[in-house]
C-alpha cells in the first residue's frame, strides 16, 4: 500500500487485489473519504473486478488471520461500503476498461452502482494533484 499526500481533497484509489482484507480497506477509505467531503474516485482492475459482477459467486478469500476474523465478525461488507461511498458520498467507482475487456464482461453484468468503464489515461489525469492509494 502506498500513498502520496498533498493538500488536495481529491482521493484516487486503485484496487487490483481480490483478497478480502485489501478490498475491505479500500472500501473503508473510499466510504469514509467520500462522506467527509473528499472527491473520491475508485478504479477497479485485475483480480478485484470479478468481485463486482452481479451475483458474484465466491466471496473474496482471506489473505491471513485478520481476513478470517472479518468473515466471522459483523464488519460491514466491502461492497456495501463501496456502495455507501457512491450513494452517500458521491464517490465515482469505475471498472478499468482493460479489465472489463479481458474478463469479457458487459458493463450491464457489473453492479449497477458502478460507473462506466474508465481508461487509465482519464484516471491518471483525474488523479493528478490528489492522494493516490493502491490496494
Amino acid at each position: 500500500m502506498a500513498s502520496v499526500t498533498s493538500m488536495s481533497n481529491k482521493i484516487s484509489i486503485v484496487v487490483v487485489s481480490g483478497s478480502l482484507e485489501r478490498l475491505q480497506m479500500a472500501a473503508m477509505i473510499a466510504s469514509v473519504g467520500a462522506v467527509s467531503g473528499n472527491e473520491v474516485t475508485v478504479f477497479l482492475s485485475m483480480n478485484a473486478l470479478r468481485h463486482f459482477t452481479r451475483g458474484a459467486g465466491e466471496p473474496p478469500p482471506a489473505e491471513g488471520p485478520f481476513g478470517r476474523l472479518l468473515q466471522e465478525k459483523k464488519a460491514p461488507g466491502f461492497k456495501q461500503l463501496f456502495r455507501s461511498a457512491a450513494e452517500l458520498g458521491e464517490a465515482k467507482i469505475h471498472p478499468c476498461s482493460m479489465a472489463v475487456d479481458v474478463l469479457g464482461v458487459q458493463p450491464s453484468e457489473l453492479e449497477p452502482w458502478l460507473g462506466q468503464p474508465l481508461g487509465l489515461t482519464k484516471f491518471l489525469s483525474d488523479a493528478h494533484g490528489g492522494q493516490v492509494w493502491s490496494f
Binding site: 473503508m28 469514509v32 464488519a75 460491514p76 455507501s84 452517500l88
Partner: protein, 76 residues
C-alpha cells in the same frame, strides 16, 4: 427538548456505525437530533471526529455498560 432518534449500531464494526448515521442524516431535516449506540470503541472516537469535520453539532458522548452513546444535531 426535541425528540432524539436512536440509531442502534451495536455489534457493527467501524465504519458501519458512521455509515448508518450518515444514511439517516441524509434524509433528516436541520435541527433533528440523533443518538448512535455503538459497541465499537473505534466508532466512539471516529463519529465525533466526523461530526466536527463536517460541521454538525456534537451534543455529547458517554459510555454505559460497554455501549457508547454519541448524540448530535444536524445543523445543515
Amino acid at each position: 427538548m426535541p425528540e432524539r432518534t436512536i440509531i442502534d449500531a451495536r455489534g457493527s464494526f467501524c465504519p458501519g456505525p458512521l455509515m448508518e448515521l450518515i444514511a439517516r442524516l441524509k434524509f433528516a431535516t436541520v435541527g433533528e437530533e440523533f443518538e448512535v449506540l455503538s459497541t465499537d470503541k473505534g466508532s466512539a472516537s471516529e463519529i465525533p471526529e466526523w461530526v466536527r469535520k463536517v460541521g454538525h453539532e456534537l451534543l455529547g458522548t458517554r459510555e454505559e455498560a460497554g455501549v457508547w452513546h454519541i448524540a448530535l444535531r444536524k445543523t445543515k
